[in-house]
Symmetry: C2
């Protein structure tokens, strides 16, 4: 029955043992002795029957505002097949599979388990054991694809090798995840010196450690950089785990860390035909207070605007973040060769490039973006398929 | 000189009168008697000279971490041309135009003025005086285009009329702003009943008030719905200003409002080939505590997961938000005819559709999305061009 409301399979972890009706909730006891409360409104809201959920789209048609706030059951019981059966006082009936119910239980222990299943970030430093994947493997084997995507989610820096040096290979690789996110720089962007550069990326200058497009409300989730040719001297790639730097700052100077979490900073990308501005803090935390995002590109930053008495503290924190990110203990350095490709979490892994000598040879990289939503969706679909 | 660092023109609002050096900042007095502090680090950071800013890209190459935190000037003065001239103790010189300096001053009065220039939201109800624009005008006249975009920014619901009923017209109109944001439903999506629907949108059912793609971290900023043909009975469009509903809830029941701001809710979009999930509160506030976004689609919502003691309060708040949005005082209802097009702020204006009878005639809408970043950038460029 849960298959109506979801594409996932919910294995039976523990069977239902008893159900007890209280004033506004049932208490369910599981065979492993866990106790889970389920409020009546929650149960009615999540009724998976074919009247409440349209089977073709698996989307709800019932709305919880359509029943009284004090709706109660006539009875709640475990039926002969082991499902929780609720007979509502208005005549509706709801049945819940114990696998689905356990997966969505919201007692403290179950919520903690759900959090832990969301994956663990691995913080890294100069000595990162770089996750490397083979282009053909990623293109052909769902399990290798999944391993690559999990490395992107949890480590945030990967390399793919043996990528044919034509632009279609990059597009095909990105599309293994999903569609490409366009920007004012195009669907694919070409990183090579241009006479009329609209970004310092398109010069032979060194680029300090940064995330791309901090000037947009949602920074691109994944960045791809594919090396088509690299015959110039200089131009090595440099990466730093922005989460490791942020955590080091938090340990060393909690007040400075807090300022970077709380004081919004404006990033600007000014061009003849666009004028992007985004006001956001440099470090973003998630609902649990954990470091979830870094936003940083000194060359795209606007003037700080905050109360005058906070200005020295903001500069202190900002400078300290940059100083830390320059320390060798954080820096992973590698030259990108033809047929190699960086793919990294652009909202976490800061990247930089040494200056290079454009007279010494040609250097041509191509890049594109895919958003984090698409990465996480593809991981869930691949995991779902592995369970079948 | 400011032209190196920026494309904007900063008119001279008031000239510099005096400058006084304090320990870590200068105090500038303007001819209109305003006093603005500027910290030395802020001034050094924002030096617009051609050593600090690369003239072609207008992006900074200097980084503030490259000078000592206690950098001081030898002297600070107003030069014969009326610019603020700083001679730094390390030999560097910085000159600031008073127009640019005033526009970026961060004393309390100046920060307040900058806030006010960001535009004012106009809350609306059932009796909205719908902003209507002509397709040809928007396509050809920059000033009409700008007025349309300002209505989208500040009101969030507009109609464009006399749109040729071919798909290219919608694309051309969206591209007046910028590129289209792709999603798993494509670049353009066709709203008409499908046998194997992957969304309730693609059925003849009524759709309750919702935002599109609440299942993504960043909901699409603007939604376009272009009517190619509408011969079916039923299917009227309905809009509600989500900000007005949120504010009504805040006035009526501050605790309920706070719960919708603070308790994240999961939205899910499950399909055979995708599995999007986003955990976010239904109401988002900006840095000033003002209502900045509504996220709502009952048919895409996952089971609530929060501490059991909060569950009744969350249901109370969620039900109340839906009940309010159903009240006629908020509802703007209109049938969309051939050649007409809705364009609205998808993160603010909830939209709904009555059920329609697919046997009574053909109904075919086409839609697409453009993000808020693109809207705001286009407005800034158009305003910049108007100033020249």
């Amino acid at each position: 029955m849960s298959s109506i409301a979801d594409y996932r399979v919910y294995p039976l972890i523990s069977s239902l043992e008893t159900v007890e009706c209280l004033e506004d909730q049932v208490h369910v006891k599981w065979a492993d002795q866990r106790l889970s409360p389920f409020h009546y409104l929650w149960l009615r809201d999540n009724c998976p029957c074919s009247e409440c959920v349209y089977g073709v789209t698996r989307e709800q048609v019932f709305e919880i505002a359509d029943v009284p706030e004090n709706l109660r059951p006539h009875s709640a019981e475990i039926d002969p097949e082991g499902l929780l059966l609720i007979n509502w006082e208005d005549g509706h009936r709801s049945r819940f599979e114990p696998g689905w119910l356990r997966a969505h239980a919201y007692d403290d222990a179950s919520r903690q388990e759900q959090l832990e299943r969301r994956g663990q970030k691995h913080y890294w430093h100069h000595d990162l054991d770089l996750p490397v994947f083979d282009y053909q493997g990623v293109m052909e084997e769902p399990e290798i694809l999944l391993q690559w995507l999990l490395a992107l989610r949890d480590i945030g820096l990967t390399q793919v090798r043996n990528v044919p040096t034509d632009p279609e290979s990059l597009i095909a690789l990105a599309k293994r995840i999903s569609f490409i996110r366009e920007s004012n720089f195009g669907v694919l962007f070409n990183v090579k010196p241009k006479a009329d550069a609209d970004s310092n990326a398109y010069t032979p200058f060194n680029l300090p450690l940064h995330t791309d497009l901090p000037t947009r409300e949602l920074q691109p989730g994944l960045q791809f950089l594919h090396c088509l040719i690299n015959q110039a001297s200089g131009g090595d790639s440099l990466f730093v785990d922005g989460f490791s730097v942020a955590r080091a700052l938090q340990e060393e100077d909690p007040a400075a860390f807090r300022h970077l979490c709380e004081i919004p900073v404006e990033f600007r990308n000014k061009d003849r035909n666009s004028d992007y501005r985004c006001l956001a803090p440099i470090i973003a935390l998630d609902a649990r207070g954990e470091i979830a995002e870094v936003r940083m590109a000194n060359f795209l930053r606007g003037p700080f605007t905050t109360a005058p008495q906070l200005m020295p503290a903001l500069y202190h924190a900002y400078r300290r973040f940059i100083e830390l990110s320059r320390e060798p203990r954080f820096q992973f350095r590698r030259r990108l060769n033809e047929g190699e490709l960086w793919c990294f979490d652009n909202r976490r892994s800061l990247h930089a490039r040494d200056a290079f000598d454009p007279t010494s040879g040609v250097r041509h990289l191509q890049g594109c973006y895919v958003d984090r939503d698409e990465l996480l969706s593809r991981i869930l679909v691949l995991e779902r398929q592995r369970m079948l």
